[in-house]
Symmetry: C2
Subunit: 371 residues, 2 copies
């Protein structure tokens, strides 16, 4: 016998002229809040029910979109909902349903351009779907981190998990983890991945290599990313494939770690006589480092050496010289990752989407080779 938690007095007070909704506490009658201010706290479904003089279940049904509510009743509910500015408490909802409107994003490279753009796109897509993105930042290197993240996930009743890390380490940890909820591993790069082989010969790297071939370059050096990153491997593979397809020659593949510093180091360490006329870097930062290293070796870009990047970071257009590169749509990748995850959460098959194609942006860092 709960003491009148939800008083259902069918008093006349409500039917009286709206002008005088003064809280006249009739004896034995619980006063019913008629406005959000009067309540002083977020309205609950029962507050609304009391004001509408229905059961909380009727309010609930209305909120679920149930049709079989008498118009008169429905109207009272609608009014009460508005008067109390009702917003469902998502925590309470999560408790019963066991699921929340939250997506966990596992990540650890928030400071890099690609990943942070992906997060941006993912956050947008999540928001558009009414979800919130929880950042689960990982300290890589500590193997327990994945476990900790996993615990966080289960403790927070997340609706799903998006793994935005792109290293093998992460992919592996992710693969063995059991999140108990839908999960989706988003590589930084889909386009060059092996399950889109058709893309390899249509746009992106082929267009880039094509561009260099047209300028007369025959021997190309690839400045690749760290091989533990799938994106780095994919790009290296795409490079090799495109070079072969054009009958050009790969002068080798050297590895950096995505940073300008590594690009600078690697290029500085090359032997003094270079048997290639263009450097194809796997990202713009490394290209930047290479640019400086070439300058320090008294090689002019593009007269003596052409150089290209991938990503098209905003700064790339203002390097000296401006960088020819492949523009990658990271925001779209992030959006898409979330959409895939949401599909999985809903039990749907993700819709087959068009391949994200990167676009060649020609700037001054490439030109006809003198050699």
């Amino acid at each position: 016998m709960p003491p009148g938690t939800a008083p259902l007095e069918t008093g006349e007070a409500q039917d009286a002229p709206r002008e005088d909704p003064a809280p006249e506490a009739a004896p034995g009658t619980e006063t019913v809040a008629t406005s959000a201010e009067e309540l002083g706290r977020p309205a609950t479904i029962r507050d609304v029910a009391a004001l509408a003089r229905v059961s909380h279940q009727t309010v609930h049904r209305f909120l679920q979109g149930y049709e079989g509510i008498r118009p008169a009743t429905r109207e009272r509910v609608v009014e009460a909902l508005a008067a109390l500015e009702y917003r469902p408490n998502l925590t309470a909802r999560s408790l019963t349903t066991g699921r929340s409107m939250r997506i966990g994003a596992l990540t650890h490279e928030l400071d890099q351009f690609g990943p942070s753009k992906i997060i941006q796109g993912a956050a947008q897509a999540a928001r558009d779907a009414g979800y919130v993105l929880d950042i689960l930042s990982l300290d890589m290197g500590d193997p327990d981190e994945i476990d900790r993240a996993l615990q966080t996930v289960t403790q927070h009743d997340l609706a799903g998990v998006l793994a935005l890390a792109s290293t093998d380490h992460m992919a592996q940890a992710f693969g063995t983890a059991n999140f108990r909820v839908p999960a989706f591993l988003a590589g930084e790069e889909d386009e060059f991945a092996s399950d889109h082989p058709s893309q390899l010969t249509s746009v992106g790297f082929p267009a880039l290599i094509d561009h260099l071939a047209e300028l007369g370059h025959r021997r190309l050096l690839h400045l690749a990313g760290p091989s533990a990153w799938s994106a780095a491997r994919n790009r290296a593979r795409a490079f090799e494939a495109a070079v072969a397809a054009h009958g050009l020659v790969s002068a080798g593949v050297v590895h950096g770690d995505w940073t300008a510093r590594s690009g600078h180091e690697v290029v500085s360490a090359l032997p003094s006589s270079l048997d290639f006329t263009a450097v194809v870097a796997a990202n713009d930062q490394m290209a930047l480092g290479a640019l400086l290293a070439l300058r320090e070796r008294d090689l002019r870009v593009p007269e003596d050496m052409s150089i290209t990047g991938v990503d098209d970071i905003p700064d790339a257009a203002y390097f000296s010289p401006p960088l020819t590169t492949l523009r990658v749509d990271f925001v779209a990748q992030g959006r898409r990752a979330v959409e895939h995850l949401l599909a999985r959460i809903a039990g749907r098959e993700p819709e087959d989407d068009d391949a994200l194609i990167s676009q060649l942006v020609v700037r001054r860092s490439t030109d006809a080779t003198a050699r």
Copy 2:
């Protein structure tokens, strides 16, 4: 009369040799799960209580660190906790307490270096404190966005809100919003802010201007950020103050929008005869754009013109030439913002922390002036 939800049979089964904990369902006796696997779902506090043959409240007390539990009892609880791999359900906890272990981060410039680094630091600090950072990405320009964010906050029972936006627009919207929970507005930049006036004359900009003065520069141009950003205004003010303190001359302040593109535009648009010998940009990107514009005007850096930035983005060391800049510790700023917020959540006064000082990094973009 709840039907034995938490069976408290003091059966002997538990005291029997550990070797045989087979689930022998005695008639009229609910079986008690003795391991996480057997349960097949996350263990609740009542599962633990049943296994430990205590009330759920005793388990609760243990978890709260209550001391007055008899050793024998305590031991059973500890064992049950471990056997069932109990993890509190944070959603349920939030429901009763009305607070969660989540911090909302309002942001809209996730792709910029500073903000994304700040988020990184904030996410770390949040994680270290057992919190999770929820990204509430805003579409600026739409004034309803703040309202939407506010609703999100209340619906999700967030413990606090961190506003990481740095524009006046955001600050103002934030100031008028009532989040019902602790909130903290973190500017991108503390160091140059007016409430740390002492810093203005000790490190950071003064060191930078000092450096230029020593190289013989007398007239300096400031390439500022958009004036709607407090960080831009702070930096401009710090510039003016430092110039005055050194008896140098400000050749004016021109405004960009933080991008390399804007730096390039602004410097390209300057009259043909320049009456200054150094450009002090408010961030590295604009300095990059300026660098290219100067090169296009056939001005050599640093021989004809020195140039400096602020932030020390990783790429700055590999610009052509490498950029003299002020290193700003954004990660620390993010951490600190979260710590402040957590203090406010806990009702504590935030501890007075040392000013975050930016550090002068001298590279090749500055040199003695020929003029």
